[in-house]
Amino acid sequence: MLDSRIPEGPLEEKWTKHKSSIKLVNPANKRKIDVLVIGTGLAGGSAAATLGELGYNVKVFCFQDSPRRAHSIAAQGGINAAKNYKNDGDSVHRLFYDTIKGGDFRAREANVHRLAEVSVDIIDQCVAQGVPFAREYGGLLDNRSFGGSQVSRTFYARGQTGQQLLLGAYSALERQVGLGNVKQYTRHEMVEIVNIDGKARGIIARNLINGKLEKFFGHAVVLATGGYGNVFFLSTNAMGSNVTASWKAYKKGAFFGNPCFTQIHPTCVPVTGSYQSKLTLMSESLRNDGRVWVPKKKEDCKKRPQDIAEEDRDYYLERKYPSFGNLAPRDIASRAAKEACDDGRGVGVSGLAVYLDFADAINRLGKSVVEARYGNLFDMYEHITNENPYEMPMRIYPAVHYTMGGTWVDYNLMTTVPGLYAIGEANFSDHGANRLGASALMQGLADGYFVLPYTIGNYLADEIFTKPISTDHPAFLEAENEVKDRYNKLISIKGKRTVDDFHKELGKVMWDYCGMARDKEGLEKARELIKQIRKEFWSDVNVPGGVDEMNPELDKAGRVADFIELGELMVVDALNRNESCGGHFRTEYQDAGEAKRNDNDYAYVAAWEFNGIDADPVLHKEELKFENIKLAVRSYK
């Protein structure tokens, strides 16, 4: 049984008490301690900045050309915080409760409560940094309600909340770089982790400009490398988002938690062709005023939407979930769209789309109000599709968006490898089997500003006598050689298929068998198919160019090789979990289309241990204890 190191005591007091009992590192010693932070998104950027402020020697890495370009930049909708500025009855407890329930009771109570507690500090910090959140006429901060919640607790900056929060963290980070407390390595990709005597002690990074491998020592290593949605090839993630850092950690002893828990977001622009490289999210806020529907009759699907009479339309979310209607949580809304399309009632050329209609909103509020609320999103939609959503309903379809699974961490955010931490989307910790809107930004900044900088001290306090280890240590050299061999191998295969061919093939298997609906037979088939893809990849991939130069195809090949291995683990996890919960829907386990959880047998986190590439991974269970919330059927009806 895994020990999550949750502090004793009542839920509301755990974090405060824990903080005051954590070991401290005195300022003179902090300067002697090196911390490597991989990733500069909300989680990594805020952590690196804060650790720098505290006086540690920090090195921070990202694969883009500037920390400001991490994929957090793309978040549109907002960030939750239990400020209760609207006086609508919100509280830390309510945010905690909503998050646990939203996650379909598969998250750890103590972590989620801490998240809700520190949410309020995040907003204070960001405002002090100059993040221009939306304001009311009186000058105070504005809030809105966001998918799956009945209070207004979401803070936002137009449709660019992620951008503004990230730029806040980035400026705090650059300030520390300017002060010499943090050294930043852009266009550097972490490609291996180095453990010495059972502790994480460093990394190997590839300099993406010249292809050189560089070795870095750290007393501790923090992974803040984001999510792995790109295992599906098509997703709302950025092109470079990858699992490599987490995967290397997994292969070096860090358990991987709930890998099959992925979030498929209901409102994305549908796929149009095989050349498509990514999917674009249309913010969930659209569901506040847009109504989702499909034709009742299959034969109407090819008609123009204007020509379908009101009584021939099926507003299926309003019909099935009268109390939440179009605001039903993401997993539920996505599955309902899939059902409608599987039933032959999808629209658009592919039949894989549903309408999101603003006609009623425009009638009720007037075009100008709708434009003020959603103008930038409507423009974006028109950019992509060449259709005007003021006149034609939008066509949307679910797309892979977020990964709740990730590197397993304890309450201190430490992985099963001492000295190795994981924060932000890269860890598995706070969202259970489904994440609520506007809570990933909250978690990234909670981890980076307010949790990790404290909890890491507990470990580092015992490291003050550890002298920096030379990067000529055999463990570093061995890791470097492994990486070299791997790149040389990739370049030398000179096969017939491109990296993208394999990535697309993998993505299709994942989407078909490990996507919105899964079953035993399909998953077993997927596992065989993925093994086959792996074999073919390593014998038939064609990677052009050389190793010692800027070579994005080689970078991509390395990432896809890891995605293939991860895909298999996701399938193994989905097969193991004989229940439906949140984003994990096993068709065998349902009550007339609604997910059927099995709390007796599966109220645990599945943490997988690597056991060799051709062997089955080993399952470790972390029992989830619900002491403050009663397990209940998650109903939005």
Partner: protein, 247 residues
């Protein structure tokens, strides 16, 4: 659709580059510009040639990574649009499309269409922040901010740091980029205590990084994918003058 692509190829910073012509056909008008580049690269790889290196990541117009100079314009022909948000329907069938990297001595070419923009990070390091350590903040609503100022601040903060302003400017000036950051903070109460220091430090670093000076041509504003206004430059100039006198 069919196109002739005239693309800048350059092995690395230290070698000379040149234009190479490529033919591409069967382009779908719903493809994005970068998807068209993906298709070209796919063909090149299959032919055993080296694909064209270009920067991109989000492909949603927000990360600021993409940076192509297309037919003589930063981010191509469409107003208020990044390269990644261009679609092939924005071009005419049979056209010759010239694709270059950002050209500015402060943005050295790394390979093909990819340039080094770390000079922008250096400018932010000099003063593009409000000095407040984590945990030092007071309650977020304790300082109300007039909505109009908050909105203007947000307009300036929308800059994605792509460098199109520099590429578009005949002097390769970074004034629009710098003024956007200076304005974002100058418009907020939180930004006041470091206001003078900030503008001096950022402008000095901009000059040290080798960016040219601003001669008010307005090309930056015209090409900015986020429509950052040059009124920010006027604000910067006022602040810079005031801070220089006080010094």
């Amino acid at each position: 659709m069919k196109f002739t692509l005239k693309i800048w190829r350059q092995k690395n910073t230290n070698t000379a580059g040149k234009f190479v012509d490529y033919q591409i056909s069967d382009v779908n008008s719903d493809m994005s510009f970068l998807e068209m580049m993906d298709v070209l690269n796919d063909e090149l790889v299959r032919k055993g040639e080296e694909p064209v290196v270009f920067d991109h990541d989000c492909r949603e117009g927000i990360c600021g990574m993409c940076s192509m100079y297309i037919n003589g314009r930063a981010h191509g022909p469409k107003r208020a649009t990044t390269t990644c948000q261009l679609y092939m329907r924005n071009f005419s069938d049979g056209e010759t499309i010239t694709i270059e990297p950002w050209r500015a001595s402060s943005f050295p070419v790394l390979r093909d269409l990819s340039v080094d923009r770390s000079s922008f990070d250096n400018i932010i390091q000099a003063g593009g922040f409000i000095s407040v350590n984590t945990g030092q903040a007071q309650d977020a609503n304790s300082t109300p901010v007039n909505k109009e100022d908050a909105d203007l601040s947000m307009d300036a903060a929308a800059c994605i740091g792509c460098g199109a302003c520099v590429a578009a400017c005949k002097n390769a000036s970074a004034m629009l980029f710098v003024s956007a950051k200076v304005s974002q903070f100058a418009l907020l109460p939180q930004g006041q205590s470091e206001r003078s220091e900030r503008v001096l430090a950022m402008v000095n670093t901009m000059e040290e990084e080798g960016f040219g000076s601003c001669t008010n041509t307005g090309a930056c504003e015209a090409e900015c994918p986020k429509e950052i206004s040059i009124s920010n430059i006027a604000r910067l100039n006022r602040d810079f003058l005031a801070a220089s006198i006080m010094k």
